[in-house]
Amino acid sequence: MSSARSASSTRAPAPGPLAIQVEDVHKTFHIPTHRIDTLKERVANPFARQEFRRLRALRGVSFEVRRGEFFGIVGRNGSGKSTLLKILASIYRADRGSIRMAGRLAPFIELGVGFNNELTARENVALNGVMMGLSRREAARRLDRVLDFAELDQFVDLKLKNYSSGMLVRLAFAVMVEADADIMLIDEVLAVGDASFAQKCMDVFEQRRKAGKTLVLVTHDMATVQSFCDQAMLLHDGEQRYTGNPEEAVMRYFRLNFAGSSDAEHVPVEPDLKLVDVWLEDEAGRRMENVEQGRPIGFHLLAEARTEVRGPRFGFQVLNVDGVPVFGFGGSLPKDLEQHDRIVPGQRVRVAANIDNRLVPGRYSIACSISRNHSPGDLLLRDVGILDFVVTGTEPNPGMVSVRTDLVARVEP
C-alpha cells in the first residue's frame, strides 16, 4: 500500500525488550441511574442506596508491546479503547490486573491538553514539559527546539488565545515530540491539523520508532493501523477480540461493522455480503486517510457475495461527528445485456464514487445500506458504519457544508 508499511513489514523481527506488559485488566464503571451529587440529597435520603448501572468497560485485556513497536487499538465507539488508554496513562485505575511499563511515559492522551490560553507559548511549553516529566531546567532548554519544530519562533511571547488553531496544533505536537518520552499514548492523533502536518507527524513517528520509542495509538483510521502499526488489537464491548497482525485486526473490525448489530457475532447467520475493503483515494488514485478541505474524494468499496443477491442497490450516507447525515449517494449495477443484475456467491463487486467534496473540516463517517430486488425496503444491510475519515483544513466555517457562493455587495446609487 504505502512505502511506510512495506518498510515496517520488512523490518527485522528482532524481538526487543518488553516496553508494556498488560495482564488481565478489568474496569467497571458504576454509572448512577439517579445521581446524588449534593449533600442535601445525601442528607435527605441518608439510607437511599445509590442505584448503579454497571458498565463493564474492559473485561480481561492482556497484551505485550515490545520496545520500538507501534501498537494500534481499534474498535467501535464505546468498545473500551479510550478507557484502556486512560488506564495505561494512569488517569483511571484498573479494578483488576497488572500493568507494567519500562521507561518514561508521556502522560498525555490528547494533543494540547493543559494548555492555558491566558499564558504565552513560552510559559505553556515550560508547564507542559514539566507535566511530561521533564525537570524545569530541561523543559526550558527544550523551548528552542519545540519552537523550531513548530515553526513558531516569532510567536514565543504571544498568548495562546491569539494563536490560530493550526498554530496551536503545531505547538502541541512539538511539545509532545520534544519531550522525548519512551512510550507515547495517543488518542486519534490525526484528527487535527492539515494534511501536510499530519504527514509531518507520521514522519516524526517513523523516526521515533527507529529510535526505539514505543507508541500506543487509538484510532478509527484503519489506513493508519495498516500502514503504521506492527500489532493491533480489536476491542469490542470491552472484550479483547483479537490481537496480532494489523491487517487481520482491520479485517475483523470491518467484519464486525459490516455484520451490523453487536450481537451479530453470536447469531450463526453469515452476512450476505462480506466487506473486503473500503478506502478513499485522492485525484491521483493514491489511497488517503484524511481529506483536505475542497479536494475531491474518491470513495471505493470492494465486497464479496456470500449468497446470491439479485438487483442489489448500494446506498451510502455521510454523517458528521454528531451523527447527522450530511448527504447521501447510491446506485445499482449497470443495466446492460451482457451482465445479469445479480451477484453470485464468491463474486466481487467494486463500488466507486467520485465525491465533490463540500464538507467543512471535521470528522465524518460513511454508513452503508444495501437492498435487493431494487426495492428500497428489502434491506440486506442498514446504515452500518464502514469508514471514518477526517476532513482537514483550518478555514473555520459555520454549518455542515461549504457551498461556493458569488457574493457581491455594492452601494446602491
Binding site: G16, P17, L18, Q21, F29, D37, T38, L39, K40, R42, R67, K86, I87, L88, A89, S90, I91, Y92, R93, A94, S98, I99, R100, M101, A102, G103, R104, L105, P107, F108, I109, E110, V113, G114, N116, E118, L119, E123, A126, L127, V130, M131, G133, S135, R136, D182, G212
Partner: protein, 281 residues
Amino acid sequence: MNGVADSELRPVRGPSALGGGWARFLDLVYLISVTEFKRTYFGTALGYLWSVARPLMLFGVLLAVFTQIFRIGSQVPNYPVLLLFNIVLYGFFSEATVSAVQSIVNQEGIVRKTQFPRLVIPLAVVMTSLINLGFNLVVVFIFVLAYGVDPTWTWLLFPVILALLFVITTAVSMIVASLFPRFRDIGIIWQVLSTVLFYATPVLYPLGIVPETFKDFLLLNPLTPLFVAARAWIIDPTAPGPVTAAGGWEGLLAPMAIYALICVFAVWIFNREAPRIAEEL
C-alpha cells in the same frame, strides 16, 4: 540497550495524590502557582496594585465602622494595624480555600486527559494565595512600623504562625476540593461557612472583649490561637499570648485536637478520592 535502568518493567499503579515523583510534583506546584499569580495580577491594567488594594479597601471600610461607629477600636491598642494585619491573614485563608473548591473541576481537561498528581491542583491554589500574602505582608509591615509599633524579638516567631496557617489552609483546601466533584453544593456551603468563620475568629475584635460563654466556643476554632498569637507577638506585646488567653495549656488542647483532626481527615479523604476524581467529573 540491555542493562539500562530504563529497560526494566515497572508496575503502573494508577492515579494518586502524589504520583510521578517529588521533583515533578514540586516543579508543577511552583510553575502553576507562579503563572497563575502572574496571570491574575499582571494581566490587568492596575496589575499587582489590585492584590494590595483589595485588603486595603476592606480595611478602610472596617476601620471606619469600628472606630467611628462602634468604637471598639478606640479601646484596643494599635487597633488600625491589628485590623489590617488580621484582614490580610484571614484573607489568605479564605481566598485560598474558596478558590480551591472548584479548582479540580476547573482543571478538568488536565485531570481527565493527563496523568497528573492530583494534590498539585489545590496546593497550587494555596501557593498562589501565599505569594499574594507575601506581597501584602510587605505593605502591612510598612504600615505597622509607620504606625509606631516597635519590633520585638517575638517577630521572629511569625514564620511559625505562617506555617501553621499554611498547613490548616492546605488541609481545608484539600477537603473542599476533593469533595466538590461529588457534592456540588460544597461551593455554596463553604462560602457561607468561611464568612461565619470570619466572625468566629478574632479578626475584627480581640479575644479579650468576648464574653466568657462565647470565648470557649471561639476557642474551638483552630484559627483563634493563631490570631491571638499574631496579635501578642507582632502588634501589641502587652496583649495576652495564646496560652494566657486560653486560660492555660489545657485551653489549647481542644483547638489543637481539632486542628490535627482536620489535617488527618484532609489526607485521608484526599487519598481516598484522588484515584477516582477523573471518573467523577
